[in-house]
Amino acid sequence: MEDVSLYLEPARTLAVVGESGAGKSTLIGATLGLVPCTTGQVTWAGASPRYIRPALVMQEPRSAFNPHLLLRRSVMEPCVAKRLQCDPSRLQRLCDGLEISTDLLDRRPSEVSIGQAQRVGILRALIAAPPLVLFDEPLSALDAVTQKHTARLIAELQAEEGFAAMIVTHDLGYAAAYADDIAVLRAGRIEEIGAAKAFVAEPKTAYGHRLRDAAFALGALERAA
């Protein structure tokens, strides 16, 4: 990947859209510090993001949990790692926000629905109050109704918690509806970046136009937006 520079701010959402192979996974890996950068760097308030422990919500909710363990254990993992005492009222509040009952946490991953598992995944991402949360295609494994519901819950929680969010997705409709800014990634480069509304109204590049018009044609994006 080359020439990628992105800025994230607290309580704002950046959506990175691009087709398969554009470098979305590499971008996530680099942001999380899982993939080393050969040149350039990723920083958060001037330091490596490893110190703030950004959280990740994965595309496949079930495989993100150890099948042998109760969900509660997996959810608490970020707290255990930081040697934090997890505040029960915070857990309760997040569970309420995600519309899951805390009893769900006493099951194993195979005993909950995909939609529930994804919400538990979001719960784990938020439990230790990270300043930055990455969403890697958070909705693509879910059915249409659950997609809408989950997207709304994420947005509400962000308003409450104030974390910066980076949503990596190929779904321009989702990006346009929930993100403040949109970056278009193509073949490892940032094709264009700007406010979401401006992008939907008038993309700056030819590729951006193609992407937007394809989304219009599919009905994934509403012209009125």
């Binding site: 990740l56 495989s63 150890n66 255990v80 790692a81």
Partner: protein
Amino acid sequence: MRSVVVLSAVLLALALIGPLLAPHAPTAIDIPNRLSAPDADHWLGTDALGRDIMSRLLHGAKWTIGIAFLISLVGLLVGTLIGLVAALGGRVMDWVCMRTTDTFLAFPDLVAAVVIAGVLGAGTGSLIFALTITGWMRYARVARGIGLSLQNRGYVVQARLAGLSALAIARWHYIPALLPSLTVVWTGMFARAILGISALGFLGFGVQPPMPEWGSMLLDARIHMRSTPLQMIWPGLAVVCSVLAINLAGDALRDALAQNDDQIP
């Protein structure tokens, strides 16, 4: 899994309780009654020094099965540790651990055990050392293989992101996933240890007389093959029965695991 647990419990119980059931002291010498045929007092007869063979067999379980259990467990710990270090410790550690494993695999393990036990001098200590140091490599290979396949699982990535220590990741995410396969390997290594202990005992490098170990009992019995051939049957039969039982339990476990393969991550 249950069959293995039950079987190892039975074998361990045999090793622990067996000596209590013995009608005579295993080392009680009774020269006038030497090489006697089975009778009411000595159910399996006596050996060249008039010692009761039945009692020696029961006490021998303590040595053969007990030491084999110990050896296979230590091998399990050492091998798993090395395999996990190879899988989790980066490329350099992986290379070092795997070349060490290859080095130990460069000899047929019984030959290596004979050399080590023989060179260190006959005795139970060198026996245990020799069979342990030649018996951890399969665990290491299996642990590393599964470990590498776990590395990119979602939940392992999540644990790393959360900043969980390598030790905690191993404890919570690797060990539970490794356990079924390692148990299958363990049954094989337990059986191998029984065979190894009695082989070394038979060569005279193992447990020393007058301690009744099945292999060294066979060594004693061999000299009197012509006069009392039955004496040679019992210790061998004891080895075959224990090894067969362990192997069958291991097979059953492997088949059970293969059937619900999708449950193994």
